[in-house]
């Protein structure tokens, strides 16, 4: 079971969009795929038309009174399941901190029983550096970091890379990719070219800023599903081919 986490300290950079489309492509490839919407805003759940509600809330999942298995919902797509968000996830740090055993490894332990059932798991993470982030890093094999090509975003990537490098124990692979790229902007072009030349581990495929991607919230489906031949879908397919 491969665990991918879409993660960034900043919000609004395309984490959920990437998680939803890459999970869908993984499922289309025939891999048994699970997406866990960890963001209390529940955007990924919304995009799959699934209510952002888990019986017993995050508390029941983290304490193990309900298994993750119980919370899984089938999406409308073959091979793709989802664990919905829940508003109580906003207190996930507190819940993890009060759990028995090592609080930073709780999420990895919860996912372990699903190893036979799924080939790929995607964690759609809320923006922050917190106990949740540490849990995600312990659990994930690959951190997928969407970057809007701006100077500040590059600093964020530096911070994240240092945080992972200093991390005690399991260190996930960090794979950044450009998100919401506007080819008309000179700054986007310059930063994209510079980073690709200087940083290993940055994916060559950029995800463009397209209105069709924004339309996902209207269609309530991955763009790779409702517009599979679009430029946006082609970009996600190319990115997934690089990452998988």
């Amino acid at each position: 079971m491969n665990i991918y986490a879409t993660y960034n300290i900043k919000g609004g950079v395309g984490k959920t969009t990437a998680a939803v489309n890459l999970a869908h492509l993984s499922a289309v490839d025939g891999s048994r795929t699970l997406l866990w919407d960890l963001d209390p805003q529940g955007a990924a759940s919304f995009l799959f038309r699934i209510k952002p509600k888990v019986k017993g809330g995050g508390k029941a999942l983290i304490r193990g009174t309900r298994t993750l298995d119980d919370a899984i919902k089938g999406t409308d797509f073959e091979n793709l399941d989802l664990i919905p968000a829940d508003f109580t996830y906003r207190n996930m740090d507190l819940l993890l901190g009060s759990a028995d055993g090592k609080p930073t490894r709780r999420m990895a332990r919860l996912l372990r029983p699903l190893a036979d059932e799924y080939d790929n798991v995607f964690l759609d993470c809320p923006p922050s550096i917190s106990l949740v982030s540490e849990n995600v890093m312990h659990a994930a094999d690959v951190l997928l970091v969407p970057l809007i090509p701006t100077t500040l975003s590059v600093r964020t990537l530096d911070q994240l890379s240092e945080f992972v490098a200093d991390f005690d124990g399991h260190q996930p692979q960090v794979r950044a990719f450009f998100s919401m790229v506007d080819r008309r902007k000179r700054l986007h072009q310059d930063i994209t070219a510079k980073l690709l030349a200087e940083r290993p581990g940055v994916a060559a495929t950029p995800i463009p800023a397209l209105s069709l991607i924004e339309r996902m919230s209207v269609e309530r489906a991955p763009v790779t599903a409702f517009a599979p031949r679009s430029q946006a879908a082609r970009a996600f397919r190319s990115l997934w081919a690089e990452l998988a």
Binding site: I72, K73, G74, D76, N79, D81
Partner: protein, 546 residues
């Protein structure tokens, strides 16, 4: 990942197509349509979105010749696909396991142990081996799916409409359409709700049998109809010639049912069952044949048939038990025996040619044809009832009188021969006793319907344990002697490396030890069967025929 295993299956014989469920055997011009009232009823509580396109599904069900999976409540299905297919195992229509398979030839038998590794193989291999899985029935037809949506437009259940058909001769026979409510994971309540709605649609009824059972019924097959056991319908007051002829006809049926499997070399059990039928027939002629006019002259012909099958079966036994034999090796390596295995395989090929030539010969067909005629005539003339025989003028016995007299006679022989065996008796004494025990077992089986079941089970159980010891004793000796003979033959063919001969020597030593162990167990098993308590059990059995 796939929809939850909780699937609601309903027959789709709705008013729009048919007024009743029917037996699924009436040939029709085309597939039954899904009536609009089904969609209307579901549409009152769900959004209904038909998936685009109709796909065709082709299913082939597999089972062993003796229906081992069916008897265990299992259905094994191969679902065809453009690229590869998959095997699906279910019990009571609940999926148990599935696995993909490549290069599967649906029209060919496959040995269970040759299945590719996977969860289906894990579940069926012990049950089915050494038998082959044969295609039993194939159904094909269109499948359409409608998604049932909640207020958010999310799929919460699916209606799967399946229109399978089988081909009988040159006719397409449409089976009852099946409407299945498939659950989407995490939404069990919605699937239950949809199933309840569907159940209330006029003309829709709960499915009473699986597609497999509908398919075999439409094809005129009867699952579970083959067994290698004696299965004549005899009664206590039936004239003895009719009863014996019925038993022997049943054995002839079994023999003939297995010929094709032997000729095609589908699996080794066909030959095994054929040989058992021949042995039982020979014992039947020997012990009871005097009441069937014209039976006795067939004894030498059935001996010929038995002898014809022996070399191939002996080699089958070796090859089937090869893994167990090599596992006993302590000094030699299993790889040392590979030349021996190859030699046995070559020999089997040669012997099988001889066997199939015999089974295709005029002599064999004359034997079975004439034998059936003799038995049918005996049945017909015997049906005139107990009374004075027209041929001999003596009184004709009833089946129970014959059963008591002959079973007691054979038991007395077993008891006397066994009691005479001492620690110093030669191996032949035990071999002869084994033959008498087989005869006793057969005569008990022939008349099983006439005995009290509990008393019968106890006597046969003890007898079986004695037979196992005697079988172990004789088989160990025969195999040991054969190893020597095969070693000579391999040397003559220059096919015997030194390591192989040494390993075969170790096998022979192990077999000698097994024979000694069996001999040590003999006295205890014999006393349990034919000691004072055992004799009383046999007396009770014969005193109370039904």
């Amino acid at each position: 990942m796939t929809p939850d295993v909780r699937v609601f299956v309903l027959d789709g014989n709705t008013g729009a197509n048919r007024s009743t469920e029917g037996d699924g055997t009436a040939p029709e011009a085309g597939p039954p349509r899904v009536p609009s009232d089904v969609l209307d009823v579901l549409g009152q509580s769900f959004g209904v979105a038909a998936e685009r396109g109709v796909r065709n599904r082709r299913q082939t069900w597999l089972d062993t010749f003796d229906w081992r999976l069916y008897r265990a409540g299992l259905e094994l299905e191969y679902e065809h696909a453009a690229r590869g297919g998959r095997l699906l195992l279910s019990k009571d229509e609940v999926p148990q396991a599935e696995q993909p398979v490549d290069n599967w030839r649906r029209d060919r038998p496959h040995l269970a142990e040759d299945l590719p590794a996977g969860p289906v193989r894990d579940r069926v291999v012990r049950l089915a081996s050494p038998r082959a899985l044969l295609p039993v029935a194939t159904a094909a037809g269109p499948i359409s799916v409608a998604r049932l949506l909640n207020a958010d437009g999310k799929t919460v259940a699916k209606l799967v409409v399946d229109h399978p058909a089988v081909t009988r001769g040159d006719q397409t026979v449409w089976l009852p359409a099946r409407l299945t409510i498939a659950e989407v994971r995490g939404y069990p309540g919605q699937a239950r709700k949809a199933a309840r709605l569907l159940a209330d649609v006029p003309g829709v009824g709960t499915a009473r049998s699986s597609t497999f059972l509908s398919a075999v019924a439409a094809l005129g097959l009867h699952p579970g109809d083959y067994s290698n056991s004696v299965r004549a319908e005899i009664t206590a007051r039936m004239p003895a010639p009719v009863a014996v002829a019925s038993v022997l006809l049943g054995l002839l049926d079994t023999l003939e049912q297995n010929v094709d499997g032997v000729l095609r070399d589908i699996d080794t059990e066909f030959l095994h069952d054929l040989r058992v039928a021949v042995r039982r027939t020979r014992s039947g002629i020997k012990l009871l044949g005097d009441v069937v006019p014209g039976a006795a002259p067939y004894a030498p012909e059935f001996k010929w048939l038995g002898d014809l099958t022996t070399p191939t079966r002996d080699l089958d036994v070796y090859l089937l038990g090869f893994g167990a034999l090599t596992a006993q090796l302590a000094a030699a390596s299993p790889a040392d025996l590979e030349p021996f295995r190859a030699f046995l395989t070559r020999r089997r090929t040669r012997e099988t040619r001889h066997l199939t030539a015999g089974l295709r010969s005029a002599r064999f067909h004359t034997l079975t044809g004439h034998w059936r005629k003799v038995l049918l005539e005996a049945q017909d003339s015997g049906r005139k009832g107990p009374g004075r025989s027209t041929s001999t003028g003596s009184w004709v016995l009833t089946a129970d009188e014959l059963a008591v007299a002959r079973t007691a006679r054979v038991f007395r022989r077993v008891a006397a021969q066994g009691a005479a065996i001492t620690a110093g008796s030669p191996p032949e004494a035990l071999h002869n006793l084994r033959k008498r025990c087989k005869e006793l077992r057969y005569v008990l089986e022939f008349f099983a319907p006439l005995h009290d079941p509990a008393a019968y089970r106890k006597v046969v159980g003890d007898l079986k344990q004695l037979q196992d010891v005697l079988g172990e004793f004789q088989d160990s000796q025969v195999q040991r002697e054969e190893i020597h003979a095969l070693a000579d033959a391999m040397l003559a063919e220059r096919a015997a490396p030194a390591a192989t001969l040494l390993a075969m020597g170790e096998l022979a030593a192990n077999l000698a030890q097994q024979q000694a162990d069996a001999r040590a167990n003999f006295a205890r098993r014999f006393t349990a069967f034919a000691g004072p308590a055992g004799q009383q059990r046999v007396r009770d059995l014969l005193a109370r025929p039904l």
